[in-house]
Every structure is written in structure tokens, then in C-alpha cells.
Symmetry: C2
Subunit: 673 residues, 2 copies
């Protein structure tokens, strides 16, 4: 497998350059030639492709090239003794291989590519003059080539390419494998898309599998008439639903742990490390490094400064959250209520339709604006890693979507106090979200892609460069025209997973919070999710460009949102039960008693929520520990690696070899069969 | 400091042997002589003391001797690079020193002593005949000497000795340092008593310091008449109390983390490792080792077996907890209610007194019996370490005490629905517990000690061996007569800390659950705790034998009990507020609504409690991780140690040296000043 890989590496990255008009005569000065030369110098295998509208430089790399980058990036990898050590090319045998037999995961590979591509500087010692389409510009000593070319718009984009062989295999075993229901080849998804996307699909699969049970229960409740027993069955259903949800969340955590253990990912390390993109502003991270240095030189003072830094960061985050919550309550809530009320009041269907269109148009912009504001606010928080920052964004934006989705339902429910109306609204929403969103999610990117292709063809024809039917023959160009996997709230911090998770969370909230009002909703959700698995797979494999892999190893903020929705649903379902039992409205609650009950609930929430606000480990202890761990690993890294790789290679230690013998070769053999 | 220590080690362990009647002529066969010789061979410094009733062998050890034992025990210690590595005598410079300048902590020292003392076997290759007081017995080849001597009752006990110098220092700086209020020399307590006891006192100190605020608030509420504002101030007090408690628990966790970081204890490692006493049954632990081996050879099967083992253990624990809870509800609750009711009904004071005496007498035995049953039940659980088993015991026994303490108060409160009666009961209980318990706790051991001394003197006089005033001149004998620090529920799994923590938890429950009924209770508790700090210190330093150190590094089960009490107090205080506002009993609650509310509370509790029941990490992942960590450490241990100690000794690396330079020498200097 390894040998095989070395023979023909797959092209995984494409660099887009404009299609040139004039070919330079002086080859040495030609900008693209220089770029290709530099790429070759770095160790890439380069292939140039002339597309219809653009030219492409496809890059592939041998293990040695990637290994060098990994060494420079100080990437830590799992070794056969279970410890994560810094990668070194010579001791490659010491490291555990991925489930697909390669040394580096897709995320690591991408990091290495990125490092190598954006690491090219002018090291000749003299300024070079580069030419492109007759324009000249100077490449100064020590200047970064890619930055330069991007600034003068010669390099238009750098994006990851699909691996056709693996993609077709996945299409067959995953996207078109409908009769597999919730089962998915998670290991292969992980190899191809990285941990974060694989975790999403594992979560979706487990969630849907667990939902089957409630779907059956819900259908029984929905279609069998229990008569007077109805009032007993419904509370039982409610209790079962809540127990189900609580257990699901906890067992998902276990599943996540098991998955990470299978992929040899150390969850704590990855969370700390994060995925560093060279151009991101790391002023906050470097501040932390400075603080650690201070802690070394002056323990007492360092501790104090560190504590101030920790609490300041928390204060900032608290302030930001307060801003978001207040603006949601003061700005969004009236708006949503106004829409719901107007919709209720207006009689004419045409007016209703117009109102909804206006509303949908407005919230599009509101959401995007809010996303941008949140991103700006988050800049001032000192979250440890990019993924933590993304989580912070998710919490903030989810508040908005929560209001948007549920306030209308709450309004209807409160206004009518009628189960039938509520059910009608729920069915509408669920069907709408199922059909509409799935349709939109999959057709919109396709139309975008088609439109882009049309534009390119149109331009070419206009200029008279080409006539007749224009075919896009090169894979790289087709992928370049495909839309990227990005979030609706903006590209910073989050990618398309945001929308997919959001859809899931809103659905979860809808079926959980009104479980007692409409038990068959669970069946709707199940069917939807079964479809979702395959359509999302298709979207990722066929319609979209290959996404940039992310380092996150958990569902992140979304699990907490699920937990929050469970607590909410306990309260809302109790309210629903009260309505159900008290249809004549005879039950009354003294205002004093109600106030005390509200206070009790708030206090209980604070009791259980506070531990999330203040971590158990002070920041200086954590920083110290992280520093020590790195230090220890750095110290023993080289010596240890030699020992491990030696032992593995010569089979001196049976104990260490079982990985390769039993587990890996088995899985590799299985795939090669 | 180190040199100083090497010159004159302190005698820390005493072995008790009966005072002999006949001196053996053949010195080589004399049992005690052989024992002393063997001790010397091991490397101990031995001193024999002839007491009045017993003889004592006092043992001390040089660093080299202890180091050898530590090496054999594979004790892991923090090195200067922050990693825990196996101890090795040659590389002693690589290891971080304790706050008092010594290499080993008291807990580690004790473990080493124990290992050395109980590691003496007959290695001469031939059976030896030992004589004692004319009796002969055979010491077979490979037989353990101490076990043998204990079985024939020649070695009566092995117990840790007080270190007079440090004890006097602590007496001055801690037990008699009243005006220091909640401040205590925690580092010195840690050096002298080990982590668990130091953590207790740190907890007690912080709890009391935080209580001061509520005590002031409570006193203001108790003695200033707010008139009609009363109904507003009380809920505010309630909210403040709950917030205070929630914050206290979280900040205590942070404090605990900081303490462990200061003492260079790796909390995760110690929890896994536990403190292994040679004679404890380790069948369950070895089962786990076997499972890990299975996991290595056959991943899939091992995982399955491991999961079955994990869930079986959880089931057993659940069953045990269910047994305890059901028996408390079915057996104890009626009994307690009967007592409370009888006490209420009976008019005659004499009868009341008799009843209470009978009751107190009965619960003594009930508690001990329940403790024994719990210990038996826990044997069948697969808790990972001794400390986890102790936690399991604490949960079970606390249920009993909870009922015992509060059911009477609940009964009174519910019966009378009267704040004044409730207050009276609370004051009675608080005063009673303060005066009575503190008195009992401190005088009982002293009386026990005095009685023991009297018994010894009496015996001697009876036999006519001695006349006149008999003085106990030897420190070792005095300490032998002192009572040990043991729990009231039995000596297995828990020591005297159980009673101290129990007192604290019951007090916390009392003041928190009825906070609204009697705000000045917080002042009572504060005064009590301020006294408690010093009296507990006195008890440990003067009245009791030096306790056997425990490896636990957290408060353990008690913090969870505190958290549970906070949740309880949210509910009880809400009920109290309802009574307060609704003194005429006009407020009513439909039974249906009440049922729904109860269901809601139960579901919320399940939601927040379930994560404790099922851990996030499956057992096989955890076991794998632990195994890998050990493996990695073992592999790099020797090489790394050489490197670190070299660097530290020759000052090659400034980075690693700051520990010794700035922190340690500072603290040592401070103490030597």
C-alpha cells in the first residue's frame, strides 16, 4: 500500500492562474514558469492544465516532501507506543498509520501542502523580475512568492482537489448506498474529508438510528386511538422522549471518544493546537505565549497576570453574549412577533404571501449581518483556538435562529392554546423544512455551478475566442467552477457544516419541544434524516468543491445546544401537558407561587450552568501543564522515535507490533480484497 | 537541607512487640534480634525502645533506602520537565523536591516504609528457627517475616510515628495560631499529613472564609427589623445564598487544581494508581489487567468483553445503590418518623429524655451495621481504586445520615408550618452539634487515651512488677496508646476524615436547606468552623496517633454531596418561601399541576444527573490510554532522567533550572530564616 502510494501520488491541490494572452519569450522571467520551478524545487510533482478560462497548476507530493513540511510544522503524531511525538521522516515506521494505510491524515496533508506552498520565498539573494502577460513586477529578496502573486492577482485561488478514485469509491459505498440506511463507511469518510465532517456524519447516523425507536412510538401514538387512555399515554411518551434524549447525548459522547481512539487522535492535544492558517491574526495566542514566559521567570507575578488575563477574557465574552442576547430580545423579538401577528391578522392570501416573501428576504440579510457582527465581537475574546472561536460564533448565531424558528410557533401556541392548530403549524414547518431545505440545499449549488459554466462559455463566445459547443474537459476547471462548502453566515470561522448542523439542531428543537403536541413528528424527522445522510453525501462528493479539512474532533458547540434544547423541551412539554389536562382553563396559579417557581427554575439553571461558565482548572495551571507536556515530548522525541521505529522494524518487541500485525494489515487487506 | 536530612533521618515508623519476660541466651535465634538484623540489612536505621508494657522498634531510613523501595514500587514522580517518571536513585536531581525540601512526600515515604517492612522474606535458603519467650517457631524459606510474626502475635502493630520537631512547629504555626482565623500553613500540613488531610483543611479554611460574608448578611437579616420589606429581603437572601454556594463549589475545584499544581501532583495519575496496601484483595484490578491484555491480542473481542465488564460493574453499583435507598426508605424512614412523632406526642420530659437516649443508643449500632453492609456490598463493585471505593461508601452512608439528621426537622416543619418552631429546632440542633460534637470529638479520644494508660499502669501494679508512680517516658509508647484516626463507621476504606467531612456536610445541609427560615445560622456555622479548624488541628497533632497518609487528591464524594445539598436547598427554600408568603394557606395547587411539576423536577434532575452515571469515555478507551501513557513513560524514563538530571546538575539549561533557583530555594530559605 505504502509502496503503491509512493509510485503515483494523487494531485490534491490546484493553484488557479489566469489564462495568458501573450506567451513570454524569456522563459526564465515568465512568472508561471518561475512558480512551477519553485514548486518543483520544494519537491512537488507539478502538472499544468490549460483550461478554457483559466490555467491550473496541479500539485502532488511524495511522502518525503510532506514529511519535511510536517517536521517543520512540528506536527505531532501518534506513535506505536501511544504517545504523540513530533514527526520525523527517518523514523516513519514509529508512527501509526491511518485506517487507509497512509501516514498522514487528509487534514495533516492539507496543512503540509499549505505550509509548503505559502513557504516559498526568494532566497536567491537578489531581486528577480517576473513577467506576466507583458506586465513586469519585482520579486524582492525574502518576499513570499504566493502572497506577491495573489496581491497582483496572478494566483487567483488555491483549493483542494477531489481524488477521483476515492471519490468514486465513496460514491458507490456511501452516497448511492441507500439501502444501508443509517450505516456509513465512517473510516473512509474520515480519510477523505477529515475528522470534522466524518464526526458530523457519524452524529447524523447515530441520531437517525436512535430516532427510529421514537418514530415507531410516535406513529403508534399518532394513528392508534387510545380513547380515554390518551391522557396517560402522552405523559409516558414525554418521559420516554426526555430519557431518550438525555441518553442519546451521553452515548454520543462515548461514541465520539471511541471514534477518536480508532483514528488515533488525541482530543485534548488537537483542541489546544488548533488549525493555524498562516494569515490569521494570532496576536492573542502570542500574548498567551508571553504570559507563559512570564510565569516561568516570576511565578507569583505571572500567576496574577495570567489570572487577570483569564478573567478579562471571560468578561469580554460575557459582555459579547450580553450584547447579543439583549439585541435579540430588543430588536429581533418585536420583529418576529410583528410578523407572526400580521400573518395572523391579515385575511388575504396574496398579502400573506407577499408578507412572507418580504420577511424571508429581510431575515436573509439580518442573519448575515448578525453573523458579521458576531465575528467582529469574537475577535476581542481570547478563545484558545480557531475551533473555540467557531464555537463561540455558533452559540451567538444560534440564538438568532432559535428566535426566528420558534417564536412563531410559540406565538401560535400561546394565542390559540389549541393542539390542533399547533399541530397544523408543526406539520407545515416540518414538511416545509424537509422539502424546501433539502431542495434548496442541493439545487442551489448546482444552479450556481451551471450559471458559472454558462458565464464562462458566454464570455468566450463574446470574445470570439471559441465557437461551437464548449466542453469543460479538465477536472480541475470543473471543480474550480463548483461552489465551495461555506456557511450562510459568512466564510470566517465556520464552513458549510454550520448550516447542516443548524438544520439538525432546529429540527431537534422542533420535534422535542412540541413532542407532546405532535408525536408523529419523530417519524417525519427520521425520514428526513435518512434522506439527509445521502443527499449531504452527494452534495459533498458531486456538487461541491472538496472542502478544506478542519482539525476539530467533536461536535463542539452543537452538543451543548442539543442539551439546552432538552432542558427547554422539559419545560415546554410540561406546559403542553398542563394545557392538555386543563382544557377548560380551570387550573389557576397564584402569581406569588408562579414567581417562586420561576425563581426556582432560574436558580436550578444557574446551578447546573455555572460550571460551564467557570472552568475547573485555572488558566495558569492549564498553560503550565500544556507547556510541560510539549517540553517533555520535545525532549524525548528523537531518542524515543529511534527506539520505537527500530523495534517495530526489526520485530524485536511483539508488544508494540500488534498494531501493524493485527489491526492495520487486517484493515488494509480487507480493503484490498 | 538535603545534606542535613541525610545526617539524621527522623524515626517515622514504630513496630510494636510485646515486652519479653525471658531474655534468650542464643542471640542468633532470638526473634527480635533477627527482626532488627533484617531491618538493618534492608537499610533501616533501627532504635530499640523498652517501654513499660511493650517494646518498640523505631525505624528511620536514608534517602537511598527509600529510593530503592520507590524504584521497586515503580513510584512515578514529577521531574523538572513536568513529566512524571519512574523514580531512580542515581538521577535524584531530575526530580522536583517537595515544598519542605525533601524528595519524597510523606505518602510516598510511608508507602516505601511499608514496602520495605513487609518485603522481608527468608532468603537464606534454609529454614530458620526463631525463639521468643521460650516459644519456638520456624521461618520457612521465602516466607514473609512480618506476616509470620503478626500471625504468632509477636509483632502487634506497625504504625507511623510523629516527628516531634515538625509537630511542635506545626502546633505553634497552626493549632495554637488562633488569631490567624481561616489561614493555615497548608504546605506544611501537606508535608506532615499528606495530601488528603491537607485538602480537607484547605477546604475547611476556604469554606469558612467564604462563609464570613453570608454570616454578616445573615446577622443583619436576623437582628435588624425590615418591617414590611421583610418579604422582599428574604428572597434576595435566598438567591444570594444559592449563588454563593454554586460559586463556592466551582471555585473550590479551581483551588484544588491550583493546590495540586503547587504540590506537583498529577491528579489523573494518582486517581488511577491508588494506594495499594499489600493485603487488600486485588482480584478486580487484576481482572482489568487481564482485560487489557485481551484488548491487545484481539481488538474486537477485547472491546466487547471490556464493555460487558464495564456495564456489569455499573449494574452492580446501581443494584447496591438501589438496595441502600430502598432499605433507607422502608426501614429507616418509618423508624425516624416514629421517633419524631413520639417525641412530639409525649408530654413528660423524663420520658422524652429516655426516648432520646434510647434513640441515640440505637442509631449508633444501626449506623455501624449499615457501614458494614455497605462495605460488603462495595466489594462486588468494580471501582477502579481504593479511593473510588471509599467514595462509593461515602455516598451510601451519607444517605443514612441525611435521613437521620433532617427527617426530624422536615417533620417538625411540615407539622407546624411555623417559622418560629422551625427556628427553635434549628437553633437547638446547631448549638447541640457545635457544643456536643466538638466536645465529644476531642474529649472522647483523650479519655480513651487516659483509660488505656490507666489500664497499663493497673496491670503492671497488679502483677507487682512496678510500684510507685509509673511514668510513660518513651514517646513511641505514648503514641501507641493514643487512639488512631479512624471512622465511626468502621476502619475499612475510610479513616477519621469521614467523620470530619460528614460533620461539615451535615452542617452545610442544615444552614443551606433552611436558609430562609433562619439566616443567622450562617454565623453559628462560621463560629463553629473557626473553632473546628483549630480543634481538628489539635486533635491530629496532640490527641491522636499520626494518621496513615492517603493518596487521594480531591475532596472526592463530598463535593458531589455538597452539590446535591445545593439542589435540595433550592427546592426546600422555595417551599419555605411559599409558606412565608402564604401564611393563611390560601394558595392552592391543582393536584394535576402539582404532579406535572414533580415530574418536571424529576426529569430535570435526571437530565443533569445522568452524565454522572455514564462516563463520557468508554472503559476500554480509558484503559488503552492509561496503558499507553505508562508504556511511553517506561520507555523514555531512563534516558530522559539522565538528560534532565545532567542538565539540572550542570546548569546547562537555564530553562529547567528556574524551579530550583527561584521557587524552591526561595521557599526553603524562607523556612530556614
Amino acid at each position: 500500500m505504502n509502496e503503491h502510494e509512493k509510485e503515483e501520488p494523487v494531485f490534491e491541490i490546484a493553484v488557479v492562474i489566469p489564462r495568458r494572452i501573450v506567451q513570454e519569450k524569456d522563459v526564465d522571467c515568465d512568472c508561471v514558469n518561475v512558480l512551477v520551478q519553485e514548486f518543483r524545487k520544494v519537491g512537488f510533482i507539478v502538472e499544468r492544465v490549460h483550461g478554457i478560462a483559466e490555467d491550473f497548476i496541479k500539485l502532488a507530493a511524495h511522502l518525503e516532501t510532506l514529511g519535511r513540511a510536517a517536521y517543520e510544522l512540528q506536527i505531532k503524531k501518534r506513535t506505536h507506543i501511544g504517545m504523540d511525538l513530533q514527526f520525523q521522516v527517518e523514523d516513519v515506521d514509529a508512527f501509526v498509520r491511518q485506517p487507509d494505510g497512509s501516514i498522514f491524515s487528509w487534514c495533516e496533508r492539507f496543512q503540509c501542502y499549505y505550509h509548503l506552498i505559502y513557504g516559498i520565498v526568494n532566497s536567491t539573494g537578489s531581486t528577480m523580475t517576473l513577467k506576466f502577460d507583458g506586465n513586469e513586477f519585482r520579486w524582492e529578496t525574502g518576499e513570499n512568492l504566493l502572497w506577491k502573486l495573489e496581491s497582483v492577482n496572478i494566483v487567483k485561488q488555491v483549493f483542494p482537489l477531489h481524488d477521483e478514485k476515492k471519490r468514486h469509491k465513496l460514491l458507490k459505498s456511501w452516497a448511492f448506498h441507500w439501502w444501508n440506511f443509517t450505516n456509513q463507511p465512517i473510516d473512509e469518510i474520515y480519510s477523505y474529508f477529515g475528522a470534522k465532517i466524518a464526526i458530523y456524519f457519524a452524529f447524523l447516523g447515530m441520531y437517525t438510528r436512535w430516532l427510529l425507536f421514537l418514530a415507531a412510538f410516535g406513529l403508534v401514538l399518532g394513528f392508534i386511538d387510545f380513547g380515554s387512555l390518551h391522557l396517560v399515554v402522552l405523559p409516558i411518551f414525554f418521559v420516554v422522549v426526555i430519557l431518550w434524549a438525555v441518553m442519546f447525548c451521553q452515548f454520543w459522547k462515548r461514541k465520539n471518544c471511541a471514534l477518536l481512539a480508532r483514528w488515533f487522535i488525541d482530543s485534548s492535544a488537537t483542541a489546544d493546537q488548533g488549525y493555524k492558517i498562516p494569515d490569521s491574526k494570532e496576536s492573542l495566542l502570542s500574548l498567551q505565549d508571553e504570559l507563559i514566559k512570564l510565569l516561568e521567570t516570576d511565578k507569583m507575578k505571572g500567576k496574577k497576570v495570567f489570572q487577570r488575563y483569564e478573567w478579562l477574557g471571560r468578561l469580554m465574552r460575557f459582555r459579547n453574549d450580553a450584547i447579543i442576547i439583549i439585541s435579540i430580545i430588543c430588536l429581533q423579538l418585536p420583529f418576529e412577533l410583528a410578523y407572526a401577528h400580521l400573518y395572523e391578522v391579515i385575511d388575504s392570501d396574496v398579502m400573506k404571501f407577499g408578507l412572507t416573501a418580504l420577511y424571508l428576504f429581510a431575515i436573509q440579510y439580518v442573519t448575515q449581518f448578525c453573523g458579521k457582527v458576531s465575528v467582529k465581537l469574537i475577535r476581542y475574546e481570547n478563545n484558545e483556538s480557531t475551533e473555540k472561536r467557531a464555537d463561540s460564533l455558533v452559540y451567538k448565531v444560534f440564538g438568532l435562529y432559535f428566535m426566528q424558528t420558534y417564536i412563531g410557533i410559540f406565538y401560535h401556541a400561546l394565542l390559540h392554546r389549541n393542539f390542533l392548530t399547533l399541530r397544523k403549524v408543526l406539520v407545515q414547518r416540518l414538511l416545509l423544512s424537509e422539502v424546501f431545505e433539502n431542495l434548496l440545499e442541493n439545487t442551489l449549488p448546482y444552479f450556481k455551478y451551471s450559471y458559472k459554466k454558462y458565464r464562462v462559455r458566454h464570455k468566450k463566445r463574446e470574445k470570439g475566442e471559441m465557437t461551437g459547443k464548449i466542453q469543460f474537459t479538465h477536472r480541475a476547471e470543473k471543480e474550480y467552477l463548483k461552489p465551495a462548502y461555506k456557511a450562510s453566515i459568512g466564510e470566517e470561522l465556520e464552513d458549510g457544516l454550520f448550516d447542516d448542523f443548524l438544520e439538525l439542531a432546529l429540527q431537534f428543537g422542533m420535534i422535542m419541544m412540541f413532542a407532546c403536541a405532535f408525536p408523529p413528528a419523530f417519524a417525519f424527522a427520521t425520514v428526513n434524516n435518512l434522506m439527509e445522510i445521502r443527499t449531504d453525501a452527494l452534495k459533498l462528493l458531486v456538487i461541491l468543491r472538496r472542502p478544506v479539512p478542519r482539525a476539530a474532533t467533536t461536535v463542539g458547540a452543537w452538543l451543548n445546544i442539543f442539551q439546552f434544547l432538552i432542558v427547554m423541551s422539559i419545560c415546554t412539554n410540561c406546559a403542553l401537558l398542563v394545557w392538555l389536562y386543563d382544557q377548560e382553563g380551570k387550573w389557576s396559579l397564584e402569581p406569588g407561587l408562579a414567581a417562586i417557581l420561576v425563581m426556582e427554575h432560574v436558580l436550578l439553571l444557574i446551578k447546573f450552568g455555572f460550571s460551564r461558565l467557570v472552568p475547573e482548572e485555572p488558566a495558569w495551571v492549564k498553560a503550565n501543564r500544556a507547556k510541560y507536556a510539549t517540553q517533555a515530548q520535545d525532549m524525548c522525541s528523537k531518542k524515543l522515535l529511534r527506539t520505537i521505529s527500530g523495534e517495530v522494524a526489526f520485530g524485536e518487541s511483539k508488544k508494540l507490533q500488534y498494531h501493524k500485525d493485527s489491526f492495520f494489515h487486517q484493515s488494509i487487506d480487507r480493503k484490498e480484497d
